[in-house]
Amino acid sequence: MGPFNFPWLTFTSFIVIGLSIAAAVLWALNDIRKNGKEKGGRS
């Protein structure tokens, strides 16, 4: 049994949501970094 008495496979669905949020944040941060580098390279 996983947290809150969920079977692990069912609970993994909530982990997928957490990972999606993390992926969205990391993608946005990476884009800001890439954009900064491109601007720096052009100036």
Binding site: F4, S13, W27, A28, D31
Partner: protein, 484 residues
């Protein structure tokens, strides 16, 4: 205060806000681009939350709860895949390219994208026709969902629900155009989020908390808590694909990428849409737990309405009704905009070569959206048997037609005019035929249609080669020219 009184008060306030937004947005429409895509000036919060509002129609709250009740807790996976594939991945893979390409090609409709990107008027017209026919049918099912919510929660006759919800939407869409659709969608998303969180909090309190609820649910049978549970792998996986990958080809969602302010806006937008869409698991969770509180139900779709009248105060139940209606309204309004702009711009102006000034185009859009809305309402008042059959697969046909030509149009320079058009034709026909054959092997029409569409666009493009000019493609693909 009774549920009925509270519902009337909440709905009057809510409808007043929606109509106010319609009047306010009307003043902002100067050009046709303003009316159809908000002048490409919509910020990340409004874009992301209106995306959620259009994605999750009333079908999610009522139908999702019904699925949870019938098939158990394993259905929370549907919500999770909606978030990961239908929102996060969709925004990352498609969002920015759709924004960039459509601005460079100066197009403001989905069909317009196909016409210009593949230099294929036939692909644009075919896509318009599919959108026109099948989205009207899709809207009939949305109105039906809203009217049934009024019927169940307010004891209102079915026709009353159809007329109230339909007329309010038509008025604010006709007045305010796309800006009204996204701003009302923004409000509607907050109503949905708040009402679902409230329902979940009250349900968890009623079952003694999540851990206790899960133990009690397991005592009814392990299949009510496990994955894939009662449904089985085939059913669960194919449904997840249909409602998550299918949205990538749905015009009322893809248009949100056209109208966002600039490419940088996608960063915050992607985070907001992912966090906000997490509410998609709540109807399934509540539906599964409702089995502990409700007597056995013959119709699983009654799980959420019955649960809300049991665990919520009259005001809370009224807010949930507003959430259900909000979900349906935002979807209906989004679809109305897509159908009218597609008919006016792609069929009348581009297809028939008619000339119109900006003002005339706005007026034409208003007339067409009112007409299309009224037709959908009239059909919904007494839907003929054929319409009821068609609503079941209208979504599959639209997604099968648009999905691969859209993705290949954004990512593969070699995708050809003939490849795109034949892929659309093959995808639509397969989805229709597959459903007519009663879904052989239990496979959904969208899956069959999109697999055939994928094979056709790849094969035909490789054989025929792209005839689109190299210079035009280089201009589209160049990351730096005109980047926002």
């Amino acid at each position: 205060m009774s549920i009925l009184t509270a519902s009337i008060i909440v709905l009057i306030i809510y409808i007043g806000i929606l109509l106010g937004i319609g009047v306010w947005s009307a003043r902002k429409n100067v050009t046709a681009n303003d009316f159809v895509i908000g002048g490409r000036e919509i910020g990340p919060w409004v874009t992301a939350l209106s995306f959620i509002a259009v994605y999750f129609s009333s079908v999610l709250i009522i139908g999702g709860g019904g699925f949870g009740y019938k098939f158990g807790m394993g259905t929370v996976w549907i919500g999770a895949i909606n978030v990961a594939v239908g929102c996060t991945l969709c925004w990352i893979v498609m969002g920015r390219r759709v924004r960039r390409f459509t601005e460079r090609m100066n197009v403001n409709t989905i069909s317009g994208f196909f016409t210009k990107r593949f230099e294929s008027p036939e692909a644009g017209i075919f896509s318009s026709m599919v959108i026109f026919l099948f989205l009207i049918i899709y809207n009939v099912s949305v109105v039906k969902g809203m009217a049934h919510s009024f019927e169940i929660l307010m004891e209102m006759p079915y026709w009353g629900g159809v007329l109230i919800s339909g007329i309010v939407i038509i008025v604010y869409v006709v007045l305010g155009g796309y800006s009204a659709v996204v701003w009302t969608g923004f409000i509607q998303a907050w109503v949905m989020i708040f009402s679902l969180i409230l329902l979940t909090y009250r349900t968890l309190s009623a079952v003694g908390g999540l851990s206790a609820g899960m133990l009690k649910l397991q005592s009814l049978g392990n299949e009510f808590v496990s994955t894939p549970g009662v449904w089985g792998w085939a059913g669960l996986v194919s449904f997840c694909l249909v409602v998550s990958l299918g949205v990538w080809g749905m015009p009322q969602l893809v248009i949100r990428f056209y109208s966002i302010k600039n490419e940088k806006t996608f960063r915050l937008g992607t985070v907001i849409v992912t966090v906000g869409a997490a509410i998609a698991v709540l109807p399934y969770l509540n539906g599964a737990l409702s089995r502990l509180l409700l007597p056995p139900l013959e119709n699983p779709d009654l799980a959420i309405p019955k649960l809300s009248s049991m665990v919520l105060s009259p005001l809370g139940a009224a807010i949930l009704l507003a959430g259900v209606v909000a979900a349906g309204m935002s979807t209906f309004a989004g679809v109305l905009m897509i159908v009218s702009s597609s008919l006016v711009r792609d069929v009348y102006i581009e297809g028939l070569g008619k000339k119109m000034t900006g003002r005339e185009e706005i007026r034409a859009n208003r007339i067409v959206s009112a007409a299309v809305g009224i037709v959908a309402l009239l059909i919904a008042l007494k839907p003929p048997g054929l319409i009821l059959v068609l609503t079941g697969f209208s979504w599959a046909v639209i997604a099968s037609t648009n999905l691969w030509p859209l993705i290949f149009g954004l990512y593969w320079k070699g995708a050809s005019r003939t490849g795109a058009f034949s892929s659309m034709l093959a995808g639509a026909l397969t989805a229709i035929l597959w459903t007519w054959l009663k879904k052989p092997f239990g496979i959904h029409g969208f899956i069959a249609g999109s697999v055939v569409s994928l094979v056709v666009i790849t094969t035909v493009s490789l054989i025929k080669g792209s005839s689109v000019s190299r210079e035009f493609l280089e201009r589209l693909w160049n990351r730096n020219s005109g980047r926002g």
